[in-house]
């Protein structure tokens, strides 16, 4: 009996390639002295190779390993996105860690391992794959959050994330168990064939409800958001960048596939629960964002709010909403990576320079960097011609389409709150005079990442079809 075929291997090649490279990196790290630069190089090559494999399998529209994994299309799209996010994150991390004198190879290995989890999530056609992906990704995140092991905040961040994360995974598993109990399978492609009979069972819906809690935690939706501000603030900045973009995108990529199953029934209850989560996230995220003084904390609350916007797409249960989420993830990832790249450059070794005050007069001290950060803030606010606007347009359009106009109205009103705190940083950078004249150093590669992100959000903001045409192919 054959357990897998060559087509399975080819289908899983983006994951396998990344796995191989992470093992090579791990061995290199163990065997070599001063291995960090080498491991960095291996990681870059590994991520590029994985992205290449995803592109190669893009045109296929199949499944692998007995319908456990999706191949091509959707999975490839997200695999490429995750590889890109990981790549940008480690490029931001390198100079940051060197400056903090924490530059060790295992950092990159952990990023690669987390990326493997993300790739599995984006390709999951089975709830077990979802679970595996979440665990692989999260365990790496727990360690990464506590990477500054002599720093109390970093430790607190890791512990908090781990305890709450483990708790949430429990909900996810319980939910999967109930779904299995009511349908006899964990495979998403098969569950949907048992509808509408299986859907009538209340335990089945409770199962999905529990899965929703698990996802809600991973995407940082209210009321499962308590961990977010402390974890984001305490973790090293490049890790925060990685978690807030890659982690969220991965969780949403699986969320969209998994929930396309129960949402296909257009069940009022499930739509309403998701809509309420979306509404609460938009409201509380943006509301608390208003009072933050620390930029990383502000972006943490902003991340909660953006989870809310994307949940609108899930609640709408339309393909427009799904496309909206995918587009939004691309624009959000690029915008946040860029913003964190700038923050990582401005931040001092001792964790200082993170408050609004520290950005006063930045437009004079370094006009280019200030302009980049301003663009990211405008994109997060959702002002055209930046990509964030098109994403919101799609998501709110999907809400209107599904008779959830109230959700769209709430979305725009809370966007208005967010305008205030995003613009506040522009106010400090441009309209106030500098309070400090310390020299700032901008590592070339980090700057390059920020510039690439800015160009990308502008280009896909003006020509959204570049991404949208791909999306219409994969949904």
């Amino acid at each position: 009996m054959e357990f897998f075929s060559t087509t399975d291997l080819l289908g899983a090649s983006p994951i396998l390639v990344l796995g191989a490279f992470s093992l090579i990196a791990l061995v290199a790290n163990a065997l070599m002295k001063n291995s960090a630069p080498v491991v960095f190089g291996i990681s870059v090559v590994g991520l590029l190779a994985s992205a290449g494999a995803s592109m190669y399998t893009f045109s296929e529209n199949a499944t692998a390993f007995s319908d456990m994994l999706l191949v091509g299309g959707y999975a490839s799209f997200f695999s490429i996105l995750f590889a890109l996010i990981s790549l940008f994150s480690i490029i931001i991390a390198k100079p940051y860690l060197e400056r903090a004198q924490y530059h060790y190879g295992e950092f990159y290995v952990l990023v690669l391992l987390a990326a493997i989890g993300m790739l599995m999530l984006g390709a999951s056609a089975d709830l077990i794959t979802v679970f595996l992906g979440i665990e692989v990704m999260s365990v790496s995140f727990y360690v990464l959050a506590g990477y500054f092991r002599t720093n109390n905040a970093s430790n607190e961040s890791a512990l908090k994330y781990f305890l709450l994360g483990a708790f949430a995974t429990g909900f996810l598993l319980y939910g999967i168990a109930l779904i299995y109990g009511t349908t006899g399978t964990t495979n998403l492609l098969r569950i949907v064939t048992m509808y509408p009979q299986a859907f009538g069972d209340p335990l089945h819906i409770i199962g999905w409800g529990l899965v929703l809690i698990g996802f809600g935690f991973k995407v940082a939706a209210v009321p499962f958001h308590m961990w977010v501000p402390d974890v984001y603030e305490g973790a090293p900045t490049p890790v925060t960048a990685f978690m807030s973009t890659g982690g969220k995108a991965a969780a949403f990529s699986a969320f969209v596939i998994a929930f396309s199953v129960p949402m296909s029934m257009k069940d009022e209850r499930l739509m309403m629960v998701t809509a309420v989560l979306a509404a609460a996230s938009m409201l509380l995220g943006n509301w608390f964002g208003l009072s933050q003084l620390n930029l990383k904390r502000m972006l943490a609350y902003s991340s909660i709010a953006h989870a809310g916007y994307m949940l609108v797409g899930i609640a709408s249960a339309t393909s427009l909403g799904q496309q909206g989420i995918a587009f939004y993830l691309v624009s959000y990832a690029l915008t946040n990576l860029g913003a964190f790249a700038v923050i990582a450059m401005i931040e001092k070794e001792n964790g200082g320079n993170l408050s609004y005050e520290d950005y006063a007069g930045l437009a004079r001290r370094s006009p280019g960097i200030a302009a980049l950060l301003a663009m990211f803030m405008f994109s997060l606010t959702g002002i055209p011609p930046f990509a964030g606007f098109v994403g919101k347009y799609y998501l709110f359009a999907s809400a209107v389409q599904s008779n959830l106009t109230w959700l769209a109205i709430l979305g725009v009103i809370t966007s208005l709150f967010s305008t205030y705190y995003y613009l506040r940083i522009v106010v400090y950078m441009y309209f106030r005079e500098a309070t400090s004249s310390d020299a700032l150093t901008f590592p070339f590669m980090t700057r390059l990442v920020a510039i690439l992100c800015a160009v990308a959000i502008l280009v896909i903001g003006i020509v959204p079809s570049l991404v949208l045409n791909v999306l219409t192919e994969i949904f």
Binding site: Q323, P367, F378, I383, P384, P385, F389, V390, Y393, F396, A397, V400, Q401, T405, A408, I409, V412, I413, S415, L416, T419, Y420, L423, V426, V427, Y430, F431, R432, P464, S465, L468, T472
Partner: protein, 512 residues
């Protein structure tokens, strides 16, 4: 010439590209590039103007290219009688504003000129877009440069003013966004219909929306425009933004940005939601009349000249809105011409106030007195613009106000001459506050010794003002030149509204 609208619209971007390659120390060159670019844009817009056929009520010079095909969003531009003059006004005022701030802006000049040019693209886009998505993109994107212009180069309370300006405008426009989405969705619910933001298609679809929903749609659009106009009681951002903005910012704000609100009412609110527009006419007309009187009364008690001019805008724009909602040919025509008039005269007033501020670094009325003896040329120009602003026959302001009052007096849809009667008092009030201010600033004895040594206008400053004065007189003496382009389009809109009023039902026809 094909694609001329696109060339006009994006030509300022060429200037920004050029500026990127200039050394920031080359100040004269930077300014020259800015002015040269905006003059090229002006020339292009004149080609549009002279190629425009006033008898044709359709969109002209139209261009269309698919943008987001899945949602039938396209890059679609065109001009008709309602927008053509506003396009020219924009391209006309931008070089004047730039030339007007030749010496007053010294800090971060390159950014300043770039933002002004960006702003021009945004404003032109708003007037040219014939797709709601495209319109919204320009409407919002234009906030960014204006926000920086107020926030960086503004006065003492510039940060407060800039943030307030941004938040107020956003608050209105976000609800408009939902309405745009809903319109698109509504189009998709019709038999054989699909999601669209194409204005031409929506013109046939939207009027058929049941009144209950139409009301909400109308309110969402109207709120956004009313904030921009600004209509009483949504005007509180205006004095802050106008007073804090640098001279060129105030000129553009008053000259063009406010018109985006009134333009929106004519372009979108009336033809898309005719029934709701008629339903809400009493409310909007009342608010505009209150604005006329209130703005004038508040202007009267100002001690700061710039603030006085800012409040006078509230009053003048009230006239425009009243004219629009009279829904008569005279009224709407008057509103159209009054938009141009206000752009010219208030723009010129802000320029003049900026000139005196550059010399004395104060705008307090009490700090002046007897300037006529010291600065005769300045005084003459100021008085001409003042007369234009208060509507003296022979100058432009008279034509607009007269038509609006005439139109609203006879309006069936307004249904009462009370509006016109109360609004007419605004004309008197405006004469009071403007002339009283002029008297205190220019006439009598020179009360402050600092004012004795003030220099009169330079040749550059005269060059800035002369073109504006030329049009102020031209419109006053021979308004037909400027009434003709909009006549046919206005007539079409008014006839449509009157048909709806008379019960000609409009049914939604799905997009083809």
């Amino acid at each position: 010439m094909t694609n001329i609208l696109t060339y006009t619209l994006f030509s300022p971007l060429v200037g920004i590209l050029l500026l990127l390659f200039l050394n920031r120390e080359k100040r004269t060159l930077i300014k020259s590039v800015g002015i040269a670019t905006s003059l090229v844009t002006f020339a292009l817009s004149l080609m549009v103007y002279f190629g425009f056929d006033p008898a044709n009520t359709n969109m002209q010079f139209t261009e269309q290219a698919a943008w987001i095909s899945g949602l039938d969003i396209s890059y679609a531009v065109g001009v008709d009688g309602i927008s053509i003059l506003l396009v020219v006004l924009t391209t006309f005022l931008t070089p004047i504003a730039l030339l007007g701030s030749w010496e007053s802006i010294t800090d971060r000049l390159k950014e300043y000129v770039s933002f002004m040019l960006m702003l021009e693209v945004g404003m032109l886009g708003v007037f040219m877009a014939t797709d709601l998505f495209l319109f919204y993109v320009f409407w919002e994107a234009m906030l960014i440069p204006m926000y920086f212009i107020i926030g960086i180069w503004g006065g003492k309370d510039r940060i407060y003013a800039a943030v307030k300006f941004f938040l107020y405008t956003m608050a209105g426009s976000l609800l408009m966004l939902i309405a745009i989405l809903w319109l698109g969705y509504y189009a998709s619910t019709l038999p054989g219909g699909y999601f669209t933001t194409n204005l031409q298609k929506l013109y046939t679809i939207a009027p058929g929306i049941p009144l209950g929903i139409q009301t909400w749609m109308f309110l969402a659009f109207a709120l956004s425009f009313a904030i921009k106009v600004p209509l009483f009681p949504l005007h509180t951002w205006l004095p802050d933004a106008h007073v804090q903005a640098p001279t060129a910012g105030s000129v553009i704000l008053a000259g063009v940005l406010l018109k985006m609100g009134t333009y929106g009412l004519v372009r979108f609110c009336l033809p898309l939601f005719p029934q709701a527009s008629i339903e809400f006419t009493p409310l909007l007309a009342t608010l505009s009349v209150i604005g006329i009187v209130y703005g004038a009364l508040v202007a009267m008690v100002q001690t700061d000249v710039k603030k006085l001019v800012a409040y006078s805008s509230v009053s003048h724009l009230g006239f425009v809105v009243l004219g629009i909602f009279s829904m008569t040919e005279e009224g709407v025509q008057g509103a159209m011409i009054q938009m141009i008039n206000h752009g010219l005269s208030t723009g010129a007033l802000f320029l003049l106030v900026g000139m005196i501020y550059d010399r004395r670094h104060t705008r307090e009325i009490s700090q002046f007195g007897g300037l006529a003896k010291v600065m005769p040329v300045f005084t003459t120009m100021f008085m001409i613009v003042t007369f234009s602003s208060i509507g003296l026959p022979g100058l432009n302001g008279f034509v607009g106000e007269f038509l609006i009052l005439l139109g609203s007096f006879n309006s069936v849809i307004l249904g009462s001459y009370v509006y016109a009667a109360v609004a007419a008092t605004g004309v008197i009030f405006s004469a009071v506050y403007m002339l009283w201010m002029c008297q205190r600033v220019f006439f009598g004895k020179v009360t402050h010794d600092e004012n004795r040594s003030l220099l009169d206008l330079t040749r550059r400053e005269i060059a800035v003002l002369l073109p504006v004065l030329l049009f102020i007189v031209w419109i006053g003496v021979y308004p037909s030149t400027f009434l003709k382009p909009s006549a046919a389009s206005v007539k079409q809109t008014v006839t449509f509204m009157q048909n709806v009023k008379n019960g000609v039902t409009v049914t939604a026809t799905p997009a083809k």
